[in-house]
């Protein structure tokens, strides 16, 4: 059983549930879709690396589309359609790829293996919203409540990424044999998304682009593999999940206070919302990878992966992306949160203080990455080899597509 991700998803579910009770994220249907999404994601983790898990994870993605749809607005329905397009195509591509490779337990013969990798590349890019097929994620972030996007990023995407981690163990050839393609995808995402994040004026799409940027980093750890690469990807994805809950949660609190979307034109929200402000800052610093947060434990290893994969050139790319991410978050912190509050009355239903329950949830999720950053070993997965890895160590046998098992 996955002793880290399942408790993490349960914790996220509890946290988001409490937060949503204090700051409504949607109607009854939203609650049903949200609960079903998390439940299916947890069930997928319980099923391990198998076809059942793949089916359950895909079901979680489809239900998450419903969560977006339940927003009820035209923008929400349009975003849901985009998300559905991505999910359906991604599911078809990854299923086909997994079928060709027997869930990663075999390598098909020439041509078929290449096709499998191409399909997997397309599927992964669509699932995780990597550049250039990121179209659904900013749209979802703009049109949905904060915690809807947070759940998609922190549970659905994290689950999908962890499936990739399992595949990296069972079928390393998919990544090592085609490393330039994966590196290209990662670099495109981390540079492109960091640049696009800088161009956003609304905070939620900015956070969405920052997620894409982070996924680019995590891909590098996955590609290099080994103890450090996998640990980098693993700690990175955990920090990603915790960080995104905090960041979206704090922005959601600001939206609740203002009664409208939060943009770079807002000022001094730390005065009415000190806790949301403090947690956003902690979350952002963790997300950027500043010690002693969990983000750092992952990020320095991802830099190591970059050095081993691409030498100084890739390190320069990573530096550029990190610098842009830092500038982006620091700009938000100093324009929107810190400094003197904007003059004039709040608009809409605004002016509401942050409910204590929501504040408590944000605090827990903001402090957790710091505590885990000081004791990361608590989050290390068990060292038992994956069953498929054990299988692969056995004698090679012929398979129907002409490859080897």
């Amino acid at each position: 059983m996955d002793t880290v991700l399942i408790p993490l998803f349960l914790g996220i579910a509890l946290g988001v549930g409490l937060y949503a009770r204090a700051i409504p994220q949607g109607d009854q249907s939203w609650w049903r879709f949200a609960a079903a999404t998390v439940a299916l994601a947890i069930a997928a983790r319980l099923a391990g690396h198998s076809w059942t898990a793949t089916l359950l994870a895909s079901a979680a993605e489809l239900v998450a589309v419903g969560m977006v749809w339940s927003g009820g607005t035209d923008a929400a329905r349009a975003a849901a359609r985009k998300y559905l397009t991505a999910v359906v195509l991604a599911t078809l591509c990854t299923w086909a790829a997994l079928a060709l490779t027997g869930l990663g337990t075999l390598r098909p013969g020439a041509a078929w293996d290449k096709l499998a990798v191409a399909l997997l590349l397309i599927g992964v890019a669509l699932k995780l919203g990597l550049v250039p097929v990121y179209f659904w994620l900013p749209a979802v972030a703009r049109a949905s409540s904060a915690m809807t996007t947070a759940l998609i990023v922190a549970v659905v995407d994290v689950g999908a990424f962890c499936e990739l981690l399992a595949l990296r163990e069972t079928a390393p050839w998919i990544f090592t044999g085609f490393a330039p393609l994966w590196i290209g995808l990662g670099v495109l995402s981390l540079l492109g998304a960091a640049l696009l994040a800088l161009a956003q004026r609304e905070l939620k799409p900015m956070l969405a682009f920052s997620s894409i940027d982070d996924m680019g980093y995590l891909l590098l750890g996955l590609i290099i593999g080994g103890a450090d690469g996998m640990a980098g990807a693993w700690f990175g994805i955990l920090g990603h999940a915790l960080g995104k809950i905090v960041l979206f949660g704090a922005v959601g609190a600001a939206e609740w206070h203002l009664g409208r979307v939060v943009t770079l034109d807002d000022r001094g929200l730390s005065t009415p919302l000190p806790m949301a402000s403090a947690t956003f800052m902690l979350g952002a610093l963790g997300f950027i990878g500043i010690p002693p947060t969990l983000g750092f434990i992952g990020h320095w290893r991802l830099y190591l992966a970059g050095a081993e994969l691409g030498g100084p050139l890739l390190l320069t790319v990573l530096y550029a992306s990190s610098a842009m991410a830092l500038l982006c978050y620091v700009r938000v912190i100093h324009r929107v949160w810190l400094g003197p509050a904007a003059a004039g009355p709040a608009v809409g239903t605004g002016g509401q203080p942050l409910p204590r329950l929501a504040a408590a949830v944000l605090l827990v999720f903001a402090v957790a990455p710091v505590l885990f950053g000081l004791a990361p070993n608590r989050l290390r997965p068990t060292l038992e080899p994956h069953p498929h890895v054990a299988e692969l160590t056995g004698p090679l046998v012929a398979n129907p597509l002409g490859g080897v098992k």
Binding site: A118, A199, I290, P292, L326, L338, G339, N377
Partner: protein
């Protein structure tokens, strides 16, 4: 718990206590608690001195099995002890000063003291870290604490702008440290400072990355522009930031690099670093001369003084290292004192603008005396530690035949003296400005005076008897870096081979002369002090008049006009604007092509993926 980890654990314990007792303690109580904790940590740091004098590096685990194969381990050698003693000693004095300074803050005092304690603990961890990863962790903890403290008054735009600049400049440059250590680990598979494998992986490129990170922390030109903006922090923060805990982190890193492969980096990077140090000395002091804000003036002097320290380290000789490290300690003392004096002035008058000050010596005699001692020290007046530091530095440069360095240092010293003469006259002498008329100006409280007075006293003590600091603290630090101790000393003071001056004997003679003069002055029943004409180098000024802060600033700006164009900030701003323009253009294009027509990017990716797998 071992004595090696005790200084850090005490500070972390104090941090926890601050949080736990926040509800019950008054601001003064929190200050007293923090001061007591840091003082205890100082005493614990002193217990490490005997081992470092014996050449033993104390080793201990702070966090065993922290992150997989990595533990947070300490290896405290002479250099580590120097920085630990400096951080806790100066920190204790500054926190003592804070007790009364911060007592009227309505909120945030728990945050203030808690972060101050972590700030100091961060420096101790940096100084004692056995490997580069632990050092980087501490490096960033210090950075975060500084960011939080500079932005302490987070509802004020000036404070948050300063904090933003601190974070952006030092963190972006700090990635050099991270990238450097990653490159070392990729090649060596270890990060321990003293591991021979690390030495072979520590190329000139890695050293350059480390130096860039150190330059930003230690305000070397052109990465120094964050420091004047950080002046909107509470004064104790400025004092700690400038004297011991922040700018000295870069100095530490440069010094620490000497333990890697016997200082092999110096061959390629020593000269560029020396050049950077020299330029920084001059740029810092010239910018300082144009300031009328007391704290900004001190901030630019920090830039200049750090240039001296880095020059000492960059010389790469036995005497150069001794000079650089003694200068580092001396600067901590006099700069911490000067900032506390500036804070006391602001606390008493509500302003730190030299144009609005004047005549404070009568209302704040204790502060004036302390200021004058520290100002004399930074200017390098004999009998102060600043003089000894400069003497050693110039001797080291002359030994290496670097007359240019001596010339730069000499010009810098003259301009420093000039600048502090202006500040001293404008703040403490003449008649009070109109802005102060009718305003009750009070002397600093006893605890504030004790905090800054103790450090000023040490400036004199280590100026007259530098051997008290040299033998137990500086010499072991120099030896721990693989250098010989080249400073000859006896109970008579430092003996150098240039004129063989015995500082202690000389100091005693001068002090005796001064006392004799004072005695004669008293016995002769000298007239009561009053306003006299000021000789300004030409025609004397009318009685009661004096060179004004603005006149002086304008004069400096006229004289050094070309230097002021060396401000790198406009360049940084242009880069930022270009970046946001590129991002905006990218968003416009991506919005039209990738977001509004999803099938287009999907098709492109499919084609690229299918083509790619066949090409790879």
């Amino acid at each position: 718990m071992t004595s090696t980890t005790l200084p850090i654990l005490l500070l972390l314990g104090g941090f926890v206590l601050q949080l736990l007792l926040a509800r019950w303690l008054t601001p003064v109580g929190k200050g007293v608690l923090a001061t007591a904790v840091v003082f205890a940590s100082f005493l614990a740091s002193l217990t490490l001195v005997p081992a470092s004098m014996a050449g033993v590096a104390a080793e201990a685990m702070l966090l065993p099995g922290w992150d997989g194969p990595f533990s947070l381990a300490l290896r405290v050698d002479g250099l580590g002890v120097l920085f630990m003693v400096m951080g806790t000693g100066i920190g204790a004095a500054i926190l003592l000063f804070s007790v009364r300074y911060m007592e009227h803050e309505e909120q945030g005092t728990t945050r203030f003291y808690a972060i101050m304690l972590v700030f100091i603990a961060g420096l101790l961890l940096l100084a004692g870290a056995a490997d580069m990863l632990g050092a980087y962790l501490a490096w960033e903890v210090i950075g975060l604490c500084s960011y939080s403290l500079v932005g302490f008054w987070y509802k004020q735009k000036a404070a948050t702008d300063g904090a933003r600049k601190v974070l952006v400049i030092t963190h972006l440059a700090g990635y050099g440290f991270l990238v450097g250590l990653v490159l070392v680990y990729a090649r060596a598979g270890t990060l321990a400072w003293t591991d021979p494998a690390v030495a072979s992986a520590f190329t000139s490129g890695v050293a350059a990355l480390f130096i860039v990170a150190a330059m930003a922390k230690s305000v070397m030109f052109p990465l120094h522009t964050w420091i004047p903006e950080a002046m909107n922090a509470p004064t104790p923060v400025s004092a700690l930031l400038h004297s011991a805990c922040y700018v000295k982190a870069g100095v530490y890193l440069i010094a620490r690099m000497y333990v890697v492969g016997g200082g092999q980096w110096h061959e390629a990077m020593g000269t560029p670093l020396l050049a950077v140090g020299c330029v920084t000395i001059l740029v810092g002091v010239i910018f300082a001369m144009a300031q009328t804000d007391l704290k900004r003036l001190l901030a630019f002097h920090t830039v200049s003084q750090l240039g001296y320290i880095v020059v000492g380290l960059a010389l790469g000789t036995d005497l150069g290292l001794a000079a650089g490290l003694f200068y580092c300690l001396s600067h901590a003392l006099f700069k911490g004192t000067l900032f506390m004096c500036a804070g006391a002035i602001q606390h008493a008058t509500g302003t730190r603008d030299l144009r609005d000050l004047g005549g404070l010596a009568s209302a704040m005699p204790g502060t004036a005396k302390v200021w004058i001692i520290a100002a004399a020290s930074i200017a390098g007046v004999p009998l102060t530690n600043g003089f000894v530091a400069k003497w050693l530095l110039f001797s080291a440069a002359l030994d290496k035949g670097l007359l240019v360095v001596v010339l730069v240092g000499w010009i810098g010293s003259i301009l420093t003296a000039f600048s502090f003469l202006k500040a001293t006259v404008n703040a403490f002498y003449g008649v009070p400005s109109k802005a102060l008329l009718g305003r009750p100006v009070h002397e600093a409280s006893p605890s504030m005076l004790a905090g800054m007075g103790s450090m000023a006293g040490l400036c004199l003590l280590f100026g007259v008897a530098p051997q008290l600091l040299m033998l137990p603290i500086v010499a072991p630090a120099v030896r721990s870096l693989g250098f010989d101790w080249a400073v000859e000393m006896s109970w008579l003071g430092i003996l150098t081979d240039r004129g063989t001056i015995a500082v202690t004997v000389g100091g005693v003679v001068v002090l005796a002369s001064a006392m004799l003069g004072l005695l004669v002055y008293r016995l002769a029943q000298a007239p009561a002090p009053g306003l006299v004409s000021v000789y300004s180098g030409g025609e004397s000024l009318p009685a009661g008049d004096r060179p004004g802060a603005v006149d002086f600033a304008e004069m400096a700006e006229t004289a050094f006009h070309p230097v002021y164009s060396l401000d790198p900030d406009p360049g940084y701003l242009r880069i930022w604007r270009a970046l946001t323009r590129v991002a905006g253009a990218a968003q416009t294009a991506a919005g039209a092509v990738l977001e509004d027509r999803p099938l287009l990017p999907i098709g492109l990716v499919a084609i690229a993926a299918l083509a790619g797998v066949w090409l790879v």
